[in-house]
């Protein structure tokens, strides 16, 4: 049994410690928002937060996730309203949409650690996430917008 927290819920999973977190999330827990893209940490479609870091779940074994706090795209916000999610909707970033769970999870870490990212910061944070549809110009725009939204939420509080 491997115990871990997924989106705030304690889970006890009877899986191999060698199993990638990706498959435990998708096949065992049925959370299919996290995507399989390459299996070798190249594309970022499988990014989840492991104790807050944007790890690639396709190469992160269950043994590493043991006792840790995992957040998937389904748990990023209660109402699809994380600033990145709102900005993605506002700009209509996705085309096919397959890579965007990972894109948003990566962007969320960027926005947390650097609330006002420059274009260079966006490159530095997001070059690990591939989008075959080529939504990159919009991802950039949406991160800038999310940064403003985040700022505004803070000042409103």
């Amino acid at each position: 049994m491997i115990q871990l927290t997924v989106n705030g819920k304690t889970e006890n999973l009877d899986v191999s410690p060698e199993m990638p977190l990706l498959w435990a999330i998708r096949d065992t827990l049925g959370l299919t928002g996290t995507k399989f893209g390459c299996g070798v940490a190249q594309c970022g479609a499988c990014v989840v937060h492991l104790d807050g870091e944007a790890v690639r779940s396709c190469v992160t074994k269950m043994s590493r996730a043991r006792g840790k706090n995992v957040v998937t795209i389904e748990g990023l916000s209660q109402n699809n309203d994380h600033p990145a999610q709102k900005a993605w909707q506002e700009i209509d970033v996705p085309q096919c949409g397959y890579c965007h769970s990972g894109q948003i999870m990566s962007a969320a870490v960027l926005l947390r650690e650097n609330p006002n990212p420059t274009d260079q910061d966006i490159d530095d944070a997001m070059a690990g996430n591939i989008c075959r549809c080529g939504t990159y110009p919009r991802i950039r725009k949406a991160i800038h917008l999310a940064s403003q939204m985040q700022e505004k939420t803070k000042s409103d509080k």
């Binding site: 070798v40 940490a41 190249q42 970022g44 990014v47 870091e53 944007a54 790890v55 690639r56 190469v59 992160t60 074994k61 590493r64 999870m105 990566s106 962007a107 870490v109 960027l110 650690e113 650097n114 910061d121 490159d123 530095d124 944070a125 997001m126 070059a127 690990g128 996430n129």
Partner: protein, 204 residues
Amino acid sequence: MSTKIKFIWIAIILVSGIGLAFTVSKNRIVEKEYVSIVPIKKDSVASVAAFKQVYKVLMSPRCVNCHPKGDIPLQGDNSVIHSMQPKRGKDGKGVYAMKCANCHQPSNSPGLHTPPGNPEWHLPPADMKMVFEGKTAHELAKQLVNPQLNGHKDLQQLIAHADDGLVKAGWNMGKGRTAPPLTHAQFKKAWITWLKTGAYAPAK
């Protein structure tokens, strides 16, 4: 400096009886330019010969890839810029969603072309880049014994560094990656020989 290291330090001075150049102490405000090398037996020929062996290892992809001249690591046996261009970051552990440990696991991932792993995976930090890439043997030897460029390491720390977990990981990088040209034991021997014979830098 720990008591243990201090003790060894004194022991070396006693054994060699020669206090060469400078000593390094954390009590000193100004760090000396070079690590105090107290050779057991000063031997420039043996030292340079040993460093040539050391240099082969340090310039192998397994070492140079994470000691790049830019802020992006290299990868592969051909030492190309790391795909997706992860940045060094202040602490050498990457930035934002592109931290080393996001892909590089505590151990090697199974299979070919998967991220090699180590719990300590990182580049040298931004304020101490310890560049190997493009360095001549002369330049690299000088750099390695310069505390201002070697991560403030003194002789004992330099010696100890041969057994650093991440250094040793160079010999266990997972499928499809050529190991350095010497075994770790050979490397360690050459490294210590170089240091203990005076840490002479080759002329070129």
